[in-house]
């Protein structure tokens, strides 16, 4: 099957999703590159799960077009077997054993690997005879991961699945994900509001904020756009004037400001000459600043933000 060797891409064109009066997605246009590990980031209620639901044909958009591997996934017999969307809430048969659940899913997933499923059950210490209804939150999440990875779907979307896991299980999950991704390349979308740990796993990043796309680019590029400028207050203020200031902290006479934008070599030199220290900004911080309601709600006035 050629589909499992490359992974499937996703395109959204002007997609809007309303639930009654609530607009969950607002005219979203977006591409997920095939074969990437893409981070779908956003605060709670930003529309991540809704977006994934549309891509996985769990629901139909109010308006706009969703394409998975070039086709509308809704009730599409070719596409849906290759799209695996795992939600933290779980979509399993609660009163049947894990083994029964695996049998059910494996019969529906063309590329399902029993071997990988077995390895992952061992890894997460899941007993195949147990029922999902009897599992702890962490173990339930882990079983979702087992289904998600063992299905080897050309498009796999994991929604917040790592949040319920304890630290050792999370690292085991990252390792298993990378190892299987390297051996069986496919498109993986990791959706979360906590990105610190998964930051390095991502090739591309999509940031949603209140139903709109705030950022969609490669992770390396986004990281390079975040810059912290530290130094004497007046020097920092002079340097960041006119720039996209995301946040600012003052400690006595020293100010640390987070700026978005790439500096030229000349600007870097000018900053160093002015006694300013330039540093990286973790993606998680950048994300928090970008989706700060106070920043995006108002006129995002740079000077006002710098005074805070």
């Amino acid at each position: 099957m050629t589909a499992t060797t490359t992974g499937w891409g996703v395109e959204l064109h002007g997609v809007t999703q309303r639930y009654g009066d609530v607009v969950a997605l607002d005219d979203v246009t977006l591409t997920v590159r095939p074969g990437t590990i893409t981070g779908l980031l956003g605060r709670n209620g930003s529309g991540k799960s809704t977006l994934a639901s549309l891509v996985a044909a769990f629901r139909r958009p109010t308006a706009g077009r969703v394409l998975v591997d070039g086709e509308d996934p809704w009730e599409n017999e070719r596409v849906v077997p290759g799209v695996c969307f795992v939600r933290e809430s779980g979509d399993v048969l609660d009163d049947y054993s894990l083994r029964d659940n695996l049998a059910y899913v494996s019969g529906a997933r063309p590329a399902f690997s029993h071997e990988l499923a077995g390895e992952l059950l061992d890894l997460f210490e899941l007993e195949p005879r147990r029922k999902p209804s009897k599992l702890s939150r962490g173990k339930k999440s882990a079983f979702g991961i087992v289904l998600g990875l063992a299905s080897r779907a050309p498009l796999t979307i994991l929604d917040e699945v790592h949040l319920g896991l304890d630290a050792p299980s999370r690292y085991a999950f990252y390792d298993a994900l990378l190892a299987d991704y390297a051996e069986h390349p496919r498109t993986l979308v990791l959706s979360s509001h906590l990105i610190g740990e998964i930051e390095r796993l991502l090739e591309d990043v999509v940031v949603l904020d209140r139903g709109r796309v705030l950022v969609a680019q490669d992770a390396e590029g986004l990281r390079a756009e975040g810059l912290s400028v530290t130094g004497p207050a007046d020097a920092v203020e002079r340097f960041v004037a006119g720039r996209d200031v995301l946040a600012s902290q003052r400690l006595a006479g020293t100010v640390q400001t987070t700026v978005r934008g790439v500096l030229t070599e000349g600007e870097v030199r000018r900053a160093r000459d002015a006694g300013l220290e330039l540093g990286p900004v973790p993606l998680q911080d950048l994300f928090v600043h970008l989706t700060d309601p106070q920043r995006t709600a108002g006129a995002a006035d740079a000077s006002r933000a710098a005074d805070r």
Partner: protein, 246 residues
């Protein structure tokens, strides 16, 4: 052992097997219990009155109508979400659910008919009567096929109605689910009690037609209602969004 298969089995067949296995297990419990109750009731009748002159088995008609009805609701609420999440279309779920529910209805009708006939044979051997007091067309003198047809109509309708009630509750919530019950369950109730018109000799076609004619009429009417119920279920299920588990 190969770890990947290039093709998956037909999703409809896969789901029919899965749902069929679940229903079969529950049917086993249901009929085991039914047989015990039927035998006990016969024994009690014999012990208290010296003989049991009515068919006890046919009283299972109500239970074997409403039990699979409730299973129909369960199939929709438990399986539709998991089915779609496992990478299958609603279309194949609808097909599979219709197949297993109609098969279950015919199976229940066949088992029930068989129980009535066996009980009748036992009663005959003991010199007892087997009067049918249920509100239905086929009486104790009716041939087996008439009994089967008569029992099958409400059973098929109830099985399909269960699916419809399940999907209406899932899509419309408790308010709409309850409000539309007369429409979704009405046909089953009608199929169960329409024979009463003939028994009460209400003037009209039901009373004037021959036994065979009225049975054909009941089956035909049941078939029309069954198709309508199945179509409504199909239409609603094929557009159903799959919300997260609450």
């Amino acid at each position: 052992m190969t770890t990947t298969t290039p093709r998956r089995p037909s999703p409809t067949a896969h789901t029919v097997r899965r749902l069929g296995a679940a229903l079969l297990r529950l049917a086993g419990w249901f009929w085991a219990l039914a047989v015990v109750v039927i035998v006990l009731a016969n024994v009690v009748g014999w012990a208290t009155r010296g003989s049991t002159d009515v068919s006890i088995a046919v009283y299972a008609r109500q239970a074997s109508t409403w039990f699979p009805f409730s299973l129909g609701i369960m199939l929709v609420s438990a399986y539709l979400r998991v089915h779609v999440a496992s990478g299958m279309t609603r279309r194949t779920f609808v097909r599979a659910a219709l197949v297993v529910q109609v098969a279950a209805a015919l199976g229940y009708a066949a088992v029930l008919t068989l129980l009535v006939l066996v009980e009748r044979a036992v009663h005959d051997a003991l010199g007892w009567d087997s009067v049918i007091t249920e509100v239905q067309l086929a009486d104790a003198s009716a041939p087996p096929w008439a009994l089967l047809g008569d029992l099958a109509v409400p059973l098929v309708l109830a099985n399909l109605s269960g699916l419809l009630v399940g999907i209406v509750y899932q899509r419309g919530g408790a308010w709409w689910g309850t409000l539309t019950l007369p429409l979704t369950v009405g046909p089953v109730v009608a199929a169960l009690y329409v024979p009463g018109l003939r028994l009460m000799e209400v003037p009209g076609l039901w009373t004037t037609a021959s036994d065979a004619q009225v049975l054909v009429l009941a089956v035909a009417l049941g078939a029309v209602l069954a198709v309508l119920t199945a179509s409504a279920f199909s239409l609603l299920a094929r557009g159903a969004p799959v919300a997260a588990k609450p």
